[in-house]
């Protein structure tokens, strides 16, 4: 069955329709939602979408609803195993409580990366990076 479907976007995603999926965007956002539709560019329609943020052993969710994501911005699309979803050893907290920590962590990481690339540029003869962070 699998071998009959060519490795194309449409071939690999057809089994994922109407399943709960995790989408990671190029800006690092993690979205959980039900995949309702997609096309050859991997533009995605996600229903009942929540954004999840993590910090240490905590996580929080913020409800967003119906999303149409432009395919270019997708880094990863993964199916969520509903049977094992609740086994994770993380504690859920309120989004507004966790958000400041999450933002701070992003800021620190950015500062760290900036100073690292500054040192590489000045002392080791590296070129300036594009400032894309993880380089997605």
């Amino acid at each position: 069955m699998d071998s009959l479907i060519p490795f194309t976007t449409s071939g690999s995603l057809v089994d994922c329709v109407d399943r709960k999926m995790l989408v990671i965007l190029r800006d690092g956002r993690k979205l959980h939602g039900v995949l309702r539709s997609y096309d050859q560019f991997a533009n995605l329609v996600l229903e009942d979408t929540v954004e999840r943020i993590y910090h240490e052993n905590l996580f929080a969710e913020s409800w967003h609803g119906l999303f149409l994501i432009r395919g270019e911005n997708v880094v990863l699309l993964g199916e969520i195993d509903l049977d094992r979803e609740d086994d994770i050893l993380l504690r859920q907290v309120e989004f507004h409580e966790l958000e400041p920590f999450h933002k701070r962590a992003i800021e620190l990481k950015k500062q760290n990366d900036d100073s690292k690339s500054q040192i590489l540029y000045e002392q080791k003869g590296f070129c300036k990076e594009g400032g894309e962070g993880d380089g997605y």
């Binding site: 329709v17 965007l25 800006d27 309702r36 539709s37 997609y38 096309d39 533009n43 995605l44 329609v45 229903e47 009942d48 967003h64 609803g65 119906l66 999303f67 149409l68 994501i69 432009r70 270019e72 911005n73």
Partner: protein
């Protein structure tokens, strides 16, 4: 229902568009095309930090600069219902054509059989296609 057809169906609906640079635009969709280029009316634009706002009467966004669009939740249901209704209409008109020759061919066999054969098969195919 492909993503871009959903966007097409969202005309005149409110939506939030986030651009790749993090800026957001809140407004009603006027029009869109197959490149995802869109025009919005009565737009509230915010910068990427979310601390500055602009009000625009109308704006055009090039599709390639879009990160994602958030559209009203009810739209998906509305579009699904619309599709079902369109399919019903299609089936009824096609059913009428198919019924004609069937009746003529096997009058003795019963008209119910003829319609029964045509109806469910056609319906089954229609639903299969509609998944997406």
């Amino acid at each position: 229902m492909l993503p871009l057809s959903l966007l097409n169906a969202a005309q005149n609906k409110p939506m939030l568009v986030e651009l790749k640079n993090g800026e957001t635009c809140n407004g009603h969709l006027i029009n869109c095309d197959n490149f995802m280029n869109i025009t919005l009316r009565d737009v509230y634009q915010t910068n990427s930090d979310g601390d500055r706002f602009w009000k625009l009467k109308e704006c055009y966004i090039r599709g390639s600069t879009i990160k994602y669009l958030r559209i009203p939740d009810i739209l998906l249901d509305a579009v699904k219902e619309e599709q079902v209704r369109a399919r019903e209409v299609g089936r009824n008109t096609r059913g009428a054509h198919a019924g004609g020759p069937g009746n003529r061919g096997g009058r003795g066999a019963s008209t119910r059989g003829g319609r029964g054969r045509g109806g469910p098969m056609r319906g089954g195919r229609g639903r299969g296609r509609g998944v997406q």
